[in-house]
């Protein structure tokens, strides 16, 4: 993944109702044209009217999803290799998830033993450490798969990729910022990466929400405490672009996380430490400059199990 140099990053809450992305742009003093990424909406990425209206400035939609489809249609060899990589990543994800579930189950079994509380606390630390190790190993495996793909297929040197990157560079020329909407996080991550959209727009400010905000963190963490099949465990999807360092970004946290389960919250926060687990609920806003949080209006899941309101960007 591209590790862009320090730039201003603004993360927002959901924009579906009462969007505030326009005011975020205004606060940054941006009144000119911005580049828009809607690739998370996949086939619906061109349906940008509501977002364009909310932005309130001229917009150029980069249409990364459509570009990827066009690229794959015209470069069968690359498409097959790309699909094979994605298939491998999906399988790795599924194996990692099995390991996570079993490790989590073991931790819970140990936690209810009738033994000395001090020993239980030590064991609990080990349980959390095992989850962290699984997360770390998974991220490394994903990175290795991506590196092997890039080494073998050198996307940046393929004419089909170069053509789109050239076009995109022209398209974003003169834009003042890049705005990344939410949607399907894996799809978004892959297309931003494929076309180096963040590299092409550096060092312009980045404004993002939903999946768009997630991919800017060091790691993309999937989470949902109310899945239709009953229960699940949060899992690392892959590395993010690192523009919002030391944060785990949780869009719509109030709807998706069982915040009254203090034991689980504490465990999750400790598992993700030193990254701070922040919720991007309606009205949330966090500003990062030169890799530091300079302004925040978000809730954080604390290692104590509490949900801290009004987190200011200090780690503990």
């Amino acid at each position: 993944m591209t590790k862009a140099s320090s730039r201003t990053v603004v993360l927002l809450g959901p924009q579906k109702t009462n969007p505030d992305v326009g005011s975020a742009l205004a606060e940054l003093g941006i009144r000119g044209k911005v580049a828009l990424v809607m690739a998370g909406y996949q086939e619906r990425e061109a349906e940008d009217a509501k977002i364009v209206e909310a932005l309130g400035v001229p917009v150029v939609n980069m249409k990364l999803h459509a570009r990827a489809s066009e690229l794959f249609a015209g470069d069968a060899e690359f498409r097959e290799a790309y699909h094979a990589r994605q298939n491998k990543l999906r399988n790795i994800q599924s194996f990692y998830r099995v390991r996570l579930e079993k490790a989590d189950e073991a931790g819970r079994m140990i936690s209810v033993r009738y033994v000395d509380p001090d020993l239980l606390e030590q064991e609990d630390n080990i349980s959390v450490e095992q989850l962290r190790q699984l997360d770390h190993d998974h991220a490394e495996r994903c990175a290795a798969v991506r590196l092997a793909f890039e080494t073998q297929w050198k996307p940046e040197q393929r004419p089909s990729v170069q053509k789109h990157r050239r076009e995109l560079a022209e398209l974003v020329d003169g834009t003042q910022a890049i705005v990344i909407a939410g949607g399907h996080v894996a799809s978004l991550l892959n297309r931003l990466d494929l076309f180096d959209a963040l590299g092409l727009t550096a060092p312009k400010p980045v404004i993002a929400w939903g999946a768009g905000a997630m991919v800017l963190a060091d790691q993309v963490v999937l989470f949902h405490d109310y899945p239709p099949y009953g229960s699940d465990i949060a899992q690392v999807l892959d590395a993010g672009f690192g523009l919002a360092p030391r944060l785990v970004v949780l869009p719509d946290m109030a709807k998706r996380v069982r915040t009254d389960d203090k034991f689980a919250i504490a465990r999750f926060a400790r598992r993700m430490a030193p990254a701070a687990c922040i919720g991007l609920d309606p009205g949330a806003r966090i500003i990062i400059q030169r890799g530091q949080v300079t302004s925040a209006r978000v809730n954080r899941l604390a290692p104590s199990g509490a949900t801290e309101t009004g987190w200011k960007g200090t780690w503990s």
Binding site: G182, G183, S187, A211, Y229, D252
Partner: protein
């Protein structure tokens, strides 16, 4: 009978109050106007029938309770009733038998507007406290319905056969959709609202954009009972044909088989005969009859090949798929077989999820478990979408 309460005074049941009198016509008419039937009061469910009869019986299929129970007549009236204790979240299907002149007639409860259809007709339904009909079984105006076609197919094994195909609203040949084959699929559509359920769950992103094949065998009790021809038909003919025609994602992880009752043996048997071909199995209230000693079973000769198959599998369990979702109602006679089969399946290393519900061997029980089962076996992108 009066319900006890830990938090307040004991309140008599509605029927007890009626019995307490006065039992005038006006009082009885008021009673019927005032209540919906059956009357649910906490864990007590009172079934009521009004009319002239020699006897009235409640007929139900709750394993563990007498299948026929006599209603009591409120003295000097034409009101009959029976109060049962039904645990919270239960669903019970029943009929009434009205006996006149020595002849019994089975009827739906005329006071109860809730009923469930099945291939044999319809039963009245009593919901215990807390049970809610899932919202996702009703048409969601925001969801776009899939398309259902009927296709004729020439099989070397079974000759010319028809099957249904559900194509999700977002179907595109270039997208490599997964495949779900549903045994007794047309009955699932009719009695378990499968089409609407798929439309809704796919729309909610909870289930993948799956192509669904609906099969209906003319000889299900024969073919589903570990018949080698059924496994060959599915695995060597039908599935490859559908995967080719609709350009599906021809991988084990993208192939699921599903069924209920005998129709749940139907997926397991091909999976066992072709291990590694089907990556997902959804088995509802499976007729997994077995014997611990000898080969005599109490369910009759139709079950003999099933018992032989299940006994064989239990003695030498092997992983035959990757993920298996098993569900069963606690009011079914098959609960014993299913409960004891789950650890056998899990012992092979397959990822097994088992769900019980306070329900019987019926289509609405199977309908109510579809969300959990399908979203786990063939999840849609809900975990990946953050708008």
């Amino acid at each position: 009978m009066s319900p006890s309460s830990k938090t307040g005074p004991i309140k008599p049941l509605a029927i007890t109050a009626l019995e307490g009198g006065p039992r005038t016509k006006d009082a009885i008419d008021t009673f019927f106007k005032k209540h919906t039937f059956p009357i649910v009061e906490g864990s007590y469910v009172t079934v009521v029938w009004r009319g002239q009869a020699d006897a009235v019986h409640l007929k139900h299929w709750v394993f563990g309770l007498p299948s026929s129970q006599q209603l009591k007549r409120v003295d000097t009236t034409d009101v009959w009733y029976l109060t049962l204790q039904i645990p919270a979240n239960s669903r019970v299907e029943y009929k009434l038998e009205v006996v006149r002149d020595g002849k019994g007639q089975w009827i739906q409860d005329p006071l109860n507007g809730s009923y469930a259809r099945d291939p044999f007709g319809a039963n009245s339904v009593a919901h215990g406290s807390g049970y809610q009909v899932p919202s996702w079984i009703h048409h969601d105006p925001e969801s776009v319905p899939g398309r259902v076609d009927e296709i004729m197919f020439d099989s070397k094994t079974f000759g010319r056969r028809g099957f249904g195909v559900y194509l999700p609203a977002r179907f595109q040949p270039s997208r490599r959709h997964p495949l779900l084959v549903v045994h007794d699929g047309h009955d699932y559509m009719r009695y378990a609202s499968l089409g609407t359920v798929l439309d809704n769950l796919i729309h909610r992103l909870e289930v993948a954009d799956v192509v669904v094949v609906l099969t209906s065998s003319p000889n299900r009790l024969g073919e589903y009972a570990d018949d080698e021809r059924h496994a060959r038909f599915l695995t060597e003919e039908l599935v490859p044909y559908v995967e080719r025609v609709f350009q599906l994602d021809a991988q084990p992880q993208s192939r699921a088989l599903m069924g209920a009752s005998f129709g749940a043996v139907a997926p397991l048997s091909p999976a066992a005969r072709y291990p590694g071909f089907y990556g997902r199995l959804l088995l509802q209230s499976g007729s997994f009859a077995f014997t611990d000693i000898g080969d005599r079973n109490h369910r009759g000769p139709l079950f003999d090949p099933v018992v032989a198959f299940v006994n064989r599998y239990r003695s030498d369990p092997e992983p035959v798929s990757e993920r298996v979702f098993v569900s069963c109602g606690t009011y079914e006679s098959l609960i014993y077989e299913n409960r004891s089969f789950v650890p056998v399946l899990a012992s092979t290393g397959m990822d097994v999820r088992y769900v019980e519900a306070r329900d019987g061997h019926n289509w609405e029980n199977w309908r109510d478990r579809l969300r959990e089962g399908l979203s786990w076996l063939m999840p849609g992108p809900f975990l990946h979408v953050y708008e």
